[in-house]
């Protein structure tokens, strides 16, 4: 092969393909909107397509980061959309009951109540999965079904609108010329990465995902780890719920966060985290969520009818999953690159679900994009 070692190392990096897709998607926009990359300053705020991609993508990034850890333990959390709705509904209904909706203490208390509800949902999911041993898809299905009902119960079936300056900040406000939600996302991602990669926590999560029983036998409290990741996922969904309801200044029990669980799972998969568990990449997930948001934005800007958005997403899911499937790669690429080189045979290093020694391979080179 003529490829230099450096190029080979680059293409084999686990973030290469997600980032390549993201860059390609961004470049596609340029012929259609020439000033796509320009960022201008208006009223002390930065505006531009890139800023809005991050702004509108931030709830998805949050949910997807939580989902990454759940998937890393071999689970899945379908209830995040319902948790988003419940948190938004509780917080907004509490704020709307206040005489002074802009009182900072009331807003903080409301957010606390909302996040507490999210944590309770997470504890419930974790309890069902870890203690009762129920399949994660099914255990989280319960809150997915009932949660929207609860959210509608809280808002009484109405869309509650609020008018609160401090609450507006978290989802629609600006700070240091940038949307405030970007800082929230950055903080959550940074804390998550620090906790999982600077401490042993990430390794424990991956080991539970690799083999829960074996981890228990070597002395890891796998039950506790599992409950923890579900709580963390619900907490992230709760923050995303605050963001979504704050951005629209309204709580909609029916539509807030609708299908965000599917987008989040998609983001995690694009980011190269295997659905089988045992390894994860927070950086990949962030890139994956940005890919999804960029895809949505691209569809808007290049003038493809917006209703085809879902068809595009379906195509992306199918392509990514096929690329992840070892069997598919063996069938399609195997004939050409199979036995010999190995340089190109592992063309999608972001995705090797069959990898049985995930922790050693993934841990050292885990850095945030």
């Amino acid at each position: 092969m003529t490829t230099t070692p450096r190029w080979r190392a680059l293409t084999q990096h686990h973030l290469f393909w997600p980032v390549a897709v993201l860059v390609a998607l961004l470049l596609i926009n340029v012929p259609f909107t020439p000033d796509f990359f320009s960022i201008r300053m208006t009223d002390g705020h930065l505006y531009g397509s890139l800023v809005s991609i991050v702004l509108f993508g931030s709830p998805l990034i949050l949910v997807a980061v939580g989902m990454t850890l759940v998937i890393a333990t071999g689970g899945i959390d379908l209830s995040v959309g319902a948790v988003v709705a419940i948190t938004g509904a509780l917080t907004c209904s509490y704020i709307s009951d206040q005489a002074d909706q802009s009182a900072l203490s009331a807003v903080l208390l409301a957010m606390g109540i909302g996040l507490l509800a999210a944590v309770v949902c997470g504890l419930w999911n974790g309890f069902l999965v870890a203690r009762m041993g129920i399949q994660p898809i099914i255990a989280t299905l319960i809150i997915m079904v009932a949660g929207r009902g609860v959210a509608q119960l809280i808002t009484d079936g109405q869309i509650i609108t609020i008018n609160s300056e401090p609450y507006k900040l978290i989802g629609g406000g600006y700070w240091l010329t940038l949307p405030f939600s970007i800082f929230v996302v950055a903080a959550v991602v940074a804390v998550t990465v620090a906790l999982t990669r600077r401490t042993a926590l990430g390794l424990l999560v991956e080991s539970v995902g690799g083999n829960a029983e074996a981890s228990r036998l070597v002395g890891i409290r796998s039950l506790r780890i599992k409950i923890m990741v579900y709580v963390f996922c619900a907490l992230c969904a709760g923050i995303a719920g605050l963001m979504i309801s704050s951005n629209t200044s309204a709580a909609d029990g029916n539509n807030a966060g609708l299908w965000i669980e599917l987008d989040a799972i998609l983001a995690v998969v694009i980011g190269g985290t295997s659905l089988l568990g045992g390894r994860f990449s927070i950086g990949g997930t962030v890139v994956g969520a940005l890919v999804i948001q960029t895809l949505t934005t691209t569809i808007y800007t290049i003038g493809v009818p917006t209703q085809t958005n879902l068809v595009f997403k379906a195509a992306v899911v199918i392509v990514v999953c096929l690329l992840q499937s070892p069997k598919f790669r063996a069938k399609v690429f195997g004939a050409r690159f199979g036995s010999g080189s190995g340089a190109k045979g592992s063309g999608t290093p972001a995705a090797t679900p069959a990898d049985t020694t995930p922790t050693t391979a993934a841990a050292p080179k885990m850095e945030v994009s």
């Binding site: 009932a146 609860v150 068809v311």
Partner: protein, 344 residues
Amino acid sequence: MSATTQTPKTQGSRTPSTTTSKAARLLGDRRLPVLVTASLFLVMYIAGLSRYQNYGFGEPQVFLNLFIDNGYLLVAAVGATFVILSGGIDLSVGSVIGFTTMLTAWLVEEQGLPILVVIPIALGVGAFGGFLMGYVIHNFEIQPFIVTLAGLFLFRGLCLVISKESIAIDDSTVSSMAQAQASLGMGFLSVGAIVALVVLAVAFYVLHYTRFGRRVYAIGGNEQSAMLMGLPQGGTKIAVYTVSGFCSALAGLLFTLYIQSGDPLHATGMELDAIAAVVIGGTLLTGGSGYVLGTLFGVLVLGLIKSIIQFEGTLSSWWTKIATGVLLCAFILIQRAMTARKKT
């Protein structure tokens, strides 16, 4: 309700040493969940009778309306039963139903095709969609969950590609079909309800009296063993998803008849109702154990919750979701107790 769900739990928590092999045998009986669901249905029905006696709850037509109003859900749930029995899951049910209503409405209204031509087309598209998903799941060994998720996106997207607006159906054949009633002496059934019951009967026969049915159970019970026994595991898996796609499309047609329009947002989340009905009907989500008759009772219980909420009048529609969630939870815990006992 609580009384019936409590019984098996209390028996399950007794210590094995002092018992009562009777309780153990009862818990190990695969028919138990179906019986629990059936008696839950009876208790709910009797409770409804005593509470809303003066509002006409006791009329036979109220009972028959359960089939008329939930015929499409029954068909979709029967399809989901096949998939879940084989150990898989199909999330695309609701989207395929929505897509079928859209396709039917579009072909009938905008293209002027007669409904008798449209029906086979719609069924064919649904079955083909299911076949494709099954093919990908089997041949590339991707989790059913994620493949059918792609199906969910795809079909919902295709709905929107056909039209963003809902299309009303004014075709005279369709409305005469929708209004046709079969009199049963004490009440009547609609075409949709009869089709649903026929589908149920066929599914019962296929699952319990054909080779294909046994294969579905075998693969759901243990795929490895089924393969070692030489069962054509791939073909069965693909067939199961094809059946589910076909049932979803048929459910979509019934839904079109019931609602007489196509809308890109029809039946969002119906896959959850279908899965919930299957679980409440006592089918194990891990596959390999369950009865399609249980699914019937699951659908009836869900339908009865809806009617009771209507009769109550003061309760809002979202209580349906909450009640479904609570029931789902209770039955999952019962299942858990059962399987835990079997292993030890």
